[in-house]
């Protein structure tokens, strides 16, 4: 079966990938893996048609919660990560009450304001959030002794394998949701919320559902990040990061599941390999802005539209 073969090939590439990279590139690969989960969860949120500017802060909620749970209460790190995702989802649920009184542009601004409130709370309350300096010395993933081989998660390669496995699992869940009748309902709300409502869909409840689910996955990506880099602060989750997520999603395109992921990968590779090699790193916001404008002008349906064209050309040709 060629489809199964393609997946197997992809898995092999992903397994082999870090061995061909330098140490610092391996680190970038870990961040990339985490960002793939973040941007994919962002797409889940946008399925009902609402775009949020608070998604990275929600990721931070997961990071802070997981870090504090493991630091203060000594909860086993993988469990703390799951709880962190749960806290992010819970915070999103509470935020949904004021936020989903708004739609469209107002929701966008409302989500930004809500995110800033959370970020200022982190800054203001030194206990427990550590103030502007944030949290340091966050517990890493504990070593896992498999008997024959001990997994040391301080190694980027090991953490990459761990992150890639759980991110792949999360992506699979999101894919299943989108392909299910629940996903169809999300799409329906996006295209015609009035008609969906007239068909008996509780639009508000479904918007909340997409928001809470997406926030849970974003929180989990935050937890993955926190326990890898070991230190987080309020500025790790500021609006500049949010703009990067938006850029990935817009440049990649949000019509397909893989669009935002593609955007994230292409722009990260461009940024880390090309810009860094050329010593242009400081220009990242400038280059990102330029790419965003160019892609809106010349590739309004995103990188995914290129892939779709290639795929359909192969099918017919």
């Amino acid at each position: 079966m060629p489809r199964g073969l393609a997946w197997l090939l992809l898995a092999l590439v992903l397994v082999a990938l870090p061995h061909g990279l330098s140490f610092s590139q391996q680190e970038i690969l870990v961040f990339l893996t985490i960002n793939v989960l973040l941007v994919a969860s962002y797409r889940l949120l946008t399925l009902t048609g609402e775009w949020s500017l608070g998604h990275v802060v929600i990721m931070g909620v997961g990071a802070y919660a997981s870090a504090l749970l493991s630091k203060r209460l000594g909860i086993y790190v993988p469990v703390a990560m799951l709880l962190g995702a749960g806290v992010a989802a819970l915070v999103a649920y509470i935020l949904s009450f004021p936020l989903f009184r708004m739609k469209g542009f107002y929701f966008l601004i409302g989500s930004f304001a809500a995110g800033e409130v959370i970020r200022l709370l982190w800054k203001r309350f030194r206990d427990p959030f550590g103030g502007p300096k944030g949290l340091k010395r966050i517990e890493g993933m504990p070593d896992l002794d498999l008997g024959v081989y001990a997994l040391d998660f301080f190694e980027p390669i090991t953490y990459y394998y761990f992150a890639a496995a759980v991110v792949a699992f999360c992506l699979w869940i999101m894919w299943r949701i989108e392909r299910s009748p629940v996903g169809l309902t999300f799409h329906a709300i996006h295209w015609q919320d009035k008609l969906a409502e007239a068909s008996g869909v509780n639009v508000r409840a479904y918007r909340t559902r997409a928001f809470v689910l997406a926030s849970g996955f974003a929180g989990f990506s935050g937890a993955l990040l926190a326990h890898y880099i070991g230190t987080i602060n309020p500025n790790s989750f500021d609006v500049e990061q949010m703009v990067f997520v938006l850029t990935w999603a817009i440049v990649g395109g949000t019509a397909t599941f893989y669009g935002p992921i593609l955007g994230c990968i292409v722009l990260t590779v461009l940024n880390e390999i090309v810009l860094r090699e050329m010593g242009f790193e400081q220009m990242r916001p400038l280059v990102y802005g330029l790419i965003m404008i160019l892609s809106v002008l010349f590739l309004p349906k995103g990188l995914e539209s290129v892939v779709q064209r290639v795929l359909s050309a192969r099918k017919t040709g």
């Binding site: 295209w191 008609l195 008996g200």
Partner: protein
């Protein structure tokens, strides 16, 4: 006298200083095709919007089998069996015809995230597919199931709007100008389908400008003018009603 299926009682809807619907009362009997007519701006669509829960009435009530449904959200009204279509071609344009009809089955097969993940909802999905196909087949759209709804010709789009409503198996459908933009042939076919729908037990309330269709189709007609009830009766009575004639002759340009 038996209780009517749908009862509109002293319904008033004001927008600021404008009274769009003014103490309107009428009843829709079970199993009837009931027409709501009147010159442009008479408040027909506003009445629809109140019945379907899109607006909350300023005063008065809408009752379904005696239960007050005015003031409920649109989805809650729909769950009680009152499903509407919209003017123009309000569809999920970027979804396929089949997917449009599947959204219509939402109430009967409530999607659940967990069972979708575990794959334990295959039976529901199959049943929803079957029901969606049945609704498409009724309106002759099954052959177009994989076409994007936005790419359909106008007449088919109107039919699909009704198929989405039918897939919900409503007790009563509210059709907002179903014949707009149809040629005489399509109109005739659609009238036939509506009679078939009525015979299958669905009550129909429709707003329409096409007098020929209204007179040929309806069992009972309510005529409105400037938000108020003007006349009610069967097509014969309405056609000869002096008030109705005056309202329409005064604004003859509205008569299709």
């Amino acid at each position: 006298m038996s209780r009517p299926l749908l009862e509109v009682a002293k319904l008033t809807m004001r927008f600021g200083g404008l009274t769009a619907v003014d103490e309107l009362s009428f009843r829709v009997e079970q199993g009837a095709i009931h027409g709501l007519i009147g010159p442009n701006g008479a408040g027909k669509t506003t009445t629809f919007n109140v019945i379907s829960g899109f607006y909350k009435p300023t005063a008065g009530e809408v009752r379904l089998r005696g239960e007050v449904i005015s003031g409920l959200k649109m989805s809650q009204v729909a769950r009680r069996g009152v499903v509407r279509t919209f003017q123009h071609s309000t569809l999920f344009a970027e979804l396929t015809v089949r997917e449009n009809a599947l959204v219509g089955t939402h109430m009967a097969f409530r999607p659940r995230i967990l069972s979708a993940l575990l794959g334990s909802d295959t039976q529901d999905r199959r049943a929803a597919q079957a029901r969606a196909e049945e609704a498409l087949d009724f309106f002759g759209l099954l052959a177009l199931a994989e076409v994007m709804a936005g790419d359909l010709p106008h007449g088919h789009q109107r039919a699909l709007g009704m198929a989405v409503a039918l897939a919900a198996r409503p007790e009563i459908v509210l059709l907002d100008e179903p014949f707009t933009g149809m040629n005489p042939e399509e109109t005739r076919e659609m009238m036939e389908l509506m009679r078939k729908l009525r015979d299958s037990g669905v009550t129909i309330l429709l707003v329409e400008h096409d007098m020929h269709a209204i007179m040929g189709l309806c069992d009972r007609i309510t005529c409105m003018s400037f938000g108020k009830l003007l006349a009610e009766g069967n097509p014969q009575e309405i056609r000869n009603h002096p008030e109705v004639i005056r309202a329409y002759l005064g604004g003859a340009r509205h008569v299709a």
